[in-house]
């Protein structure tokens, strides 16, 4: 064993190099794959007459595209990281500062306190696009999933989370009648798993951990995680930049996505929410994409970033500074789905309720 390959600790680059190299010489036998395809299509009741050739083209094109995009993103990322060492206010920074001030001034309104023994109820209504493909047609629609969380005033007590697929659909390409007439079936098994756990640590048992030991993060924030996030906008900006480094298709977009992840929890205290809004004022490329955006019946200002063919908006109520939700809009369009179509959106509402499982009226 030569000593120069043995180091005390590898860098991240060393580890990535080793990961890239290990077993990178595998081959896929196209003939074997074609046999598997034939078997699959026959099992699916189809006629496997078509050779796998068009499929090979397609599957080859994708990784190439992905690789090209990844290279472009990496290049852009490295340029941006150099340029963005000193963050500059963007075009909407002034607006966002006003909203942030509003959040702090109206803390009593925007942060309804939860009295002892009661619960904060947080409902997120998420809509996702799905496409049904038939031999000569396709249908696209948005479908709803609702995630409700009940958070006790004392967060160490038991939380409840209910995850419901509602069966609500909004049609983008085609209609429900047309789809059903064409034989598209919508009777998927309804699933509504209910999770209960102290601290909202719903997966402790699965992970083999003691309850209440989940480390908080942007996607699963806890009070501790949020308490230690900086309130200074530049410090928070750098923290966000570091935590999103190397993630997502675009570095600036990913900052917006992380902020939305945190805000979507419905748990962010007013001072942190204000700091997040001010920090968004430093994210390059963020702009007002719609002055009066309607999200599930609530109106607010949409702030968005475009990247990789998609625009991601977050929507804030300018009167209260409340985070209303987010949406994604395709800028390139797909088959049957024109550019400018909303392909997913999530709205967030919160309330204070008496008991676990109670749903606010209206």
């Amino acid at each position: 064993m030569s000593d120069d390959t043995v180091r005390e600790i590898w860098s991240d680059d060393d580890l990535d190099l080793a990961l890239r190299t290990l077993r990178s010489d595998v081959d896929t036998d196209t003939a074997v794959l074609a046999r598997s395809r034939t078997e699959l299509i026959t099992a699916a009741g189809g006629t496997p007459a078509e050779p796998a050739a068009p499929g090979r083209n397609r599957s080859r094109r994708w990784p190439w595209l992905a690789a090209a995009c990844a290279t472009a993103v990496a290049l852009v990322a490295s340029l941006l990281l150099v340029r963005l060492d000193q963050p500059e206010p963007n075009a909407v920074a002034a607006d966002l500062n006003v909203v942030a001030d509003l959040v702090v001034d109206r803390v009593a309104v925007s942060d309804e306190p939860v009295p002892a023994g009661r619960y904060r109820y947080i409902a997120t209504h998420a809509w996702w696009m799905s496409t049904a493909v038939l031999p000569h047609d396709s249908f696209s629609y948005l479908e709803e999933r609702v995630i409700e969380t009940w958070v006790p005033a004392d967060e160490r007590q038991e939380w409840l989370r209910r995850d419901t697929v509602t069966g609500e659909r909004k049609w983008i390409d085609g209609t429900e009648e047309e789809a059903k007439a064409a034989g598209v079936s919508f009777d998927r098994p309804p699933k509504a798993p209910e999770l209960r756990a102290p601290c909202g640590d719903f997966h402790a048992e699965n992970d083999g951990r003691a309850p209440c030991t989940q480390e908080g993060g942007w996607q699963e924030p806890d009070a501790e995680f949020m308490a230690e996030l900086p309130r200074d906008q530049e410090e928070l900006y750098h923290r966000l930049r570091d935590d999103t480094d190397g993630r997502g298709p675009d570095p600036d977009l990913e900052m917006l996505v992380y902020v939305a992840d945190l805000l979507r929890s419905g748990l962010v205290p007013a001072d942190l929410r204000a700091a997040l809004y001010r920090t968004l004022g430093l994210v390059p490329g963020l702009e007002v994409t719609e002055k009066v955006a309607n999200l599930d019946g609530h109106e607010g200002v949409a702030y968005g970033i475009s990247a990789a063919g998609v625009r991601h908006d977050i929507i804030i109520d300018p009167a209260t500074g409340r985070f209303l939700g987010e949406r994604e809009i395709t800028e390139e369009g797909y088959q049957g789905v024109p550019a400018g179509t909303v392909v997913s959106y999530t709205s967030v509402t919160t309330a204070v309720v008496e008991d676990l499982g109670d749903v606010p009226a209206g």
Binding site: S2, W10, V133, H136, Y334, Q335
Partner: protein
């Protein structure tokens, strides 16, 4: 599969591909899924358990997917996560083979490192990388299956954290913290891993 005017959106990228699989002619959609995902899935599985076993696993994954197509719910995740989730379950049965293969790869380190003297830099770098890969193999053999899944679904399959979370049925925060922990531990243990360790 015939090409028609209104063909499926073959330009939908994997991270937003949420097909409706409840259609009356699953052959069309499964043809598309196979053409899009089988080759990268095979490559991923081959790196974990070898080419031949991977061919069987790809075939099984798609047949299981076909049989369970009514369980796939596009609102709960992209189809790629679902397919890799099925493949991960099937891979469980081969965990012992995988560990054996990793230990064998770790033992090959001695050969790789023994060839490096007197060559140009490019060759030396390649040999160095091969030796590091062998050390990594030894360290990977010592990971739990869950940790290996998170690391390799990310690094080899190219899934993002949300997709890994959906594939494994764990929260995305767990994926990110686990990935961070596993990488940190590998950076420390892989360089020290003894070759030929059993």
């Amino acid at each position: 599969m015939t090409m028609t005017e209104r063909q499926p959106p073959d330009d939908v990228p994997a991270h937003r591909d949420r097909p409706h699989l409840g259609g009356p002619e699953p052959a069309v959609e499964f043809g598309r899924l196979f053409d899009t995902y089988a080759r990268p899935l095979h490559r991923y599985l081959a790196r974990r358990v070898g080419q031949d076993a991977a061919h069987d696993l790809v075939s099984e994954t798609f047949l299981v997917a076909l049989n369970q197509r009514h369980d796939y719910d596009p609102r709960r995740g992209v189809v790629r996560s679902w397919l890799y989730g099925i493949a991960t379950n099937l891979l469980r049965r081969r965990a012992r083979d995988e560990v054996r293969g990793l230990r064998a790869a770790a033992r090959s380190a001695g050969h790789a490192a023994g060839q490096d003297s007197g060559h140009d830099n490019a060759v030396a770098a390649r040999v160095d990388a091969a030796a590091m890969a062998a050390r990594l193999a030894g360290a990977l053999a010592g990971l739990s299956e869950g940790d290996r899944d998170v690391l390799l679904l990310t690094s080899w399959a190219g899934l993002d954290s949300n997709e890994v979370a959906d594939a494994l049925g764990i929260p995305v925060g767990t994926v990110r913290s686990r990935l961070h922990r596993v990488r940190r531990s590998l950076r420390a243990t892989a360089p020290r891993e003894e070759t030929g360790d059993e």
